[in-house]
Symmetry: none
Subunit: 217 residues, 4 copies
DNA sequence: GATGAATGAGCTTTCATTCAT
DNA sequence: GATGAATGAAAGCTCATTCAT
């Protein structure tokens, strides 16, 4: 019946299946699209209601304020954005030699995040834009990064430095350079020049190769 | 008398000295700060007027609409952002062996753009945020890039590929990787983690080094 | 419950009964009165709202712009102003000897329009004033006149010229003189000197008599 | 030097020659035209200033308020509108047999007022429109009518009733019917259907003829 | 649970008017 | 006398939110 499966998937980080009614999904879908296109502040709830095909009041039955609606979109997106690092089995996979090299690890991460961004682009746009203006979101982002992403990432980097693959640069710098490289590709690919004629496979390959040449001992 | 020299400098891409009155500069300064902090759409003209210490009507005497005020800030910022590539002597400097290596060239560009971003951060924030929502700005940006930045950048890259310094990667990819690396550093440094304890000299050095290791033959 | 029957009647040229809510009628009534008193341009929507006892936003829920509110009043008034000539049975009545003479016909028309103006005076004032400034209204008026009023009026005049009652003046002049005489009386009576001590019956009788003496063979 | 002679003539009801400066005339001319086209309330002083080619402040140097500017146009126009009846020699001319019949008298008045309206149409439009909204103008108009126009007109009507030319209708009705007929022609000719293909001579002749047929004993 | 009319605060913009130059 | 930058009140209109149905 529902056509909104992508929204539903994005929002269901846990197993809360069936939580969203048909109308609710329409509202969320309409909101993501309009927020991505015009920005949160420049989108009116009446526009969202019209696009979603519901009455204005219906929005406020589900979300007490317009901002709640934004957070309902942005918070799950934020968590999904760093999902691999939240997964319990993730670090174990690295250390259990599922990835023998940092390069293999990068390749896996990039492929995974590429697919994620491609699927959920509008929601990511919204997150990215509004991050700058809403301190709750920014703080949430920083907390997640500091508590979950950074420690695991650092262990992985140190692991491959000890294995001799990576040069003895400061761990923070390696992380920063890595994220910048991968995110830089995704930003260029999907945000800045989405209409450019990209050879995705090749460009990802080059991105990894150049980065690894730079980072290797 | 005036304290707004930084705005004045930013906006005077040509030699239009003395063009801005005291009140106009106060308006522009207040607008940049508020737009950077809360976003264009979420900032009201009455807030700007109050912060600038002028009557609301005064804003509209100088800028017919709120959007005109935005463009008065964003357009010069956009041009200044790519200013080195607009300068006539720029390419000549490269080919006249002012820069013997791509690495030297990168170092000069990064130092220059680092200073620029540091000085004009709020205006750059505004440009960066609103680029996504206003097609006129986006188109202007793309035109400037395609007509001025890209061709010169490509010549430089080819020059150093022919000299044997750079690997024979596609020119577009070299440009993309270069911009991503430098802009990625600046974004991390000034936008994402401005409060982190950065050792700017060292991190810029590492950024250049890793990138060059990646790009070298 | 409702006290606004006159507005409701005026606006319901067709059989759209029950179309207007209580608040909508209050808005229309307040608007007609204020437009008549101060003119459209000099009346603010906040004044209308206050007089109507509704919030200002409520006006704009029903009428997208202030001008739409004007047109909602003026357009029906315009049609009602020439209503007799729009009625399908009207011409037949004349030719079926319901009126044996032009004089009888004039008497009927004048009595009818006298009652109309007396009842809907404020709305007619508004129509009359704004006709001069809004080309849409003027064009609508001209179209209705040329397509509906003039042809029927001309047939009637020719009919009584052929019967020998009216002199062989140009039809256009007869129509012009007739309308000028009747409308002139109504304008003097209700617009220019409403406070004068009028003997309406006698003055209407004189108006008809003098006009007919002038037009008769 | 000046091109504004018509305005100057209209405004100089007395012999105040040379009273208006070049700029003042430009302001008045621009104001009349815009008030006639859009109405007093819908015309801004800045529009007038732009059209007149002067600074906004200059208007307020000559006329303390926008309303003063309106009155500076409307008051002279009002007096000129009934000018014949204000002229001292006017009644004497009638009784000294300069006009042997009411019909001759009407013909003279109509020709004179026709020329006046044709020359000063925009100012008359303004007077006519604003009369309805400004009680000072209305009162001024009524005072002039009651004190100057009506008594003289009444004497003339009685004169020709005594001479046996006019029927023994109430004097007020004769005056009303006369004014209505002449003003009705001028209104139709210049305000309602200025673009119609008028044969002015013939229509004026018919107007007089029909009216006289109606009023004659 | 869903609706949409109603609200009133707040938005961008315009305006008549002032005043230092 | 003329200017036009500056004003701030008020204009038309939009908006997030409420609530009776």
């Amino acid at each position: 019946m529902s056509e909104h499966s992508w929204i539903q998937e994005l929002l269901q980080i846990g197993g809360k299946d069936g939580k969203f009614s048909e109308k609710q999904l329409k509202i969320l879908e309409a909101a993501v699209e309009m927020f991505a296109e015009k920005g949160y502040a420049a989108t009116s709830t009446s526009e969202i209601a019209k696009k979603a095909g519901v009455a204005e009041g219906t929005i406020f039955r589900h979300y007490k304020t317009k901002k709640d609606l934004l957070l309902a979109i942005v918070t799950p997106t934020l968590f999904q954005s760093v999902a691999p690092f939240l997964a319990k089995e993730f670090v174990r996979e690295v250390f259990d030699n599922e990835y023998e090299t940092y390069e293999q690890f990068l390749r896996a991460v990039l492929a995974n995040r590429y697919a994620f961004v491609k699927t959920y682009l509008p929601a990511i746009r919204v997150l990215w834009q509004e991050l700058a203006f809403h301190s709750e979101i920014k703080q949430c982002f920083q907390r997640v990064f500091v508590e979950h992403v950074y420690p695991k990432f650092a262990r992985i980097v140190r692991h491959f430095q000890e294995k001799g693959e990576l040069a003895e640069l400061p761990v923070d710098s390696v992380i920063r350079l890595t994220i910048t490289s991968l995110a830089g590709f995704l930003a260029a690919r999907f945000l800045l020049l989405p209409d450019h004629n990209w050879d995705d496979e090749a460009e990802m390959e080059r991105t990894i190769r150049v980065l690894m040449n730079g980072l290797r001992r």
